[in-house]
Assembly symmetry: C2
Homo-oligomer: 312 residues x 2
Amino acid sequence: MSSRLPPLTALRAFDAAARHMSFAQAAAELNVTPAALSFQIKSLEAHLGAPLFRRLNRAVELTEAGKALSTGAAEGFQTLAGAWRAAQRTQDTQTLTVTAGPAFTAKWLAPRLYEFAQAHPKVELRFAASLTLADLTRDNIDVAIRFSDSTSPDLYSLPLAEEWVMPVMTPALAAQYPTVESLHNAPLLFDESISFLKVPVDWSDWFNAMGAPFNPKLGPRFSQSDHAIDAALAGVGAVMGRRALVIKDLAEGRLVAPFPTALATGARFSFLCVKGMETRQQIAAFRDWILEEIKKTAQITENLTILEPSHS
Amino acid sequence: MSSRLPPLTALRAFDAAARHMSFAQAAAELNVTPAALSFQIKSLEAHLGAPLFRRLNRAVELTEAGKALSTGAAEGFQTLAGAWRAAQRTQDTQTLTVTAGPAFTAKWLAPRLYEFAQAHPKVELRFAASLTLADLTRDNIDVAIRFSDSTSPDLYSLPLAEEWVMPVMTPALAAQYPTVESLHNAPLLFDESISFLKVPVDWSDWFNAMGAPFNPKLGPRFSQSDHAIDAALAGVGAVMGRRALVIKDLAEGRLVAPFPTALATGARFSFLCVKGMETRQQIAAFRDWILEEIKKTAQITENLTILEPSHS
DNA sequence: CCCATCAGTTAAGCTGTACTTAACTGAGCA
DNA sequence: TGCTCAGTTAAGTACAGCTTAACTGATGGG
């Protein structure tokens, strides 16, 4: 083999040409003349000892060698560009991009956004709500809040509070159903996304745990937790609320949990960022602020009985 | 932001330096003087507007920006190197690297290797037996033979014969157990890897299908199919043999299938290569040869009843 | 049919990037 | 104290990579 790696400028020229399938456009992208590009490709072909493009009348097409090279080349340069952006991002102490699931974004982050802005007026927060997001560096994300099982070795991972679930509802609704048994007759809302938890727990599990078995089937179903909670906030019914998503509403009285027994889920949100980045100004500030916010609501949990899920 | 991508030579210099954590070693790797390398890093730092290394007395260490850049840079250059090797490989019509599972390698490829070498004396076959192999270009693999479900859009995928299973044994053993019922008393071998198939089928399923229900539990267990078949070849017992792995032994009489009823599994091996590469000389030759080999043994299948798996 | 146009190539010459050699700094160590 | 090691700086050089300008050859509209 000639060398471990060909001239990189030539490779980049090839990448652009392969992506556009046009030398002229590639030249425009790289801000060089078509002549220069033609030369680069030629030199790369000389290095390889074979043509990479088949020159047709008004177009070019990739040869086998070209096809073999193009995919990986595109991917490689994308990775490099992502890495470079990540490095640039470390120089920016103003902005902080956070990704979390839609429910956590809506019910945890958004309501507390004002307070964070107060505490850190210089930091500009950006959100990227999505359920799955693979690559932090690739997608220019600083921090992810996730139910994380697999923590890759080059991720910094800080587990946050454990997620339990318990029935919550508006104070008005709670007044109508003072006992667990009476709750059998209350309008029960179902949060289907709970089934994604490690140990799915729902109404029937909770009634069982309370010694008042009941297997409710009917009731509005919501595919996203935040929608179910919004419905409960509107007084539509009671819902099995996840800790992170309802604790602020509990603390501020919009919702109540009349029966102080919660079911543990084994799952917990984690604070994730690329290893080493946890010391960056905004990231550290954001992490500390999250921990502080969780601590603030800790006393609500103290009065609860939290039952481990039965492994029967 | 300064530019979409920094000078590539400088980036490569940084990559080498970050991998070795030493400018001198990096310079040696790139065959340049330490002075040149020092310059490159400096220029990269100028582009970024921040230092990438912290210069200590006898060592260097990465700054935050450096850490952010190093991982992606290493990955990016690795990808580029892999792509370049893939391109170089297309120029080589002599060698052909194939990956398959251990069982397929041992029981399908290996026994036919001589015949392929006869038909294509110029092609040098190489094998890479492994259960999972993610990236064909990265790992310098030309062809993969896999049970493929997810076919990525840039893979060429050719489904081969469907995989069924049926009891096979040596002729001597078969003589002792002439009926399905008598087979209940035969030494039965278990191939545990069958459980990885889409529709796991084993002895009890087969006896059920034959109308002679029996739920055998005892017998030697093998974690790899080829070992189970080797045991059967040694006359140790009967085994539920997968088509691809036993058909040559059946064709040549080392094993017999006394009861001509097989159970379909829904799974089939596929011939996989990077899209566009299927026209390369050796790859096309190998593919055509595989198809030919399968056709050769087709008449064995013609006399069989193949039962779809019951979906009860 | 012919000429304008478009996409890529070739040639000649210039510019600045990326290298070299050589001298320098400054910490660790015998 | 001076030697060595790792990285920096300075000065000079060579060639990679760019530009402009002219060329090829196929396409397609008028």
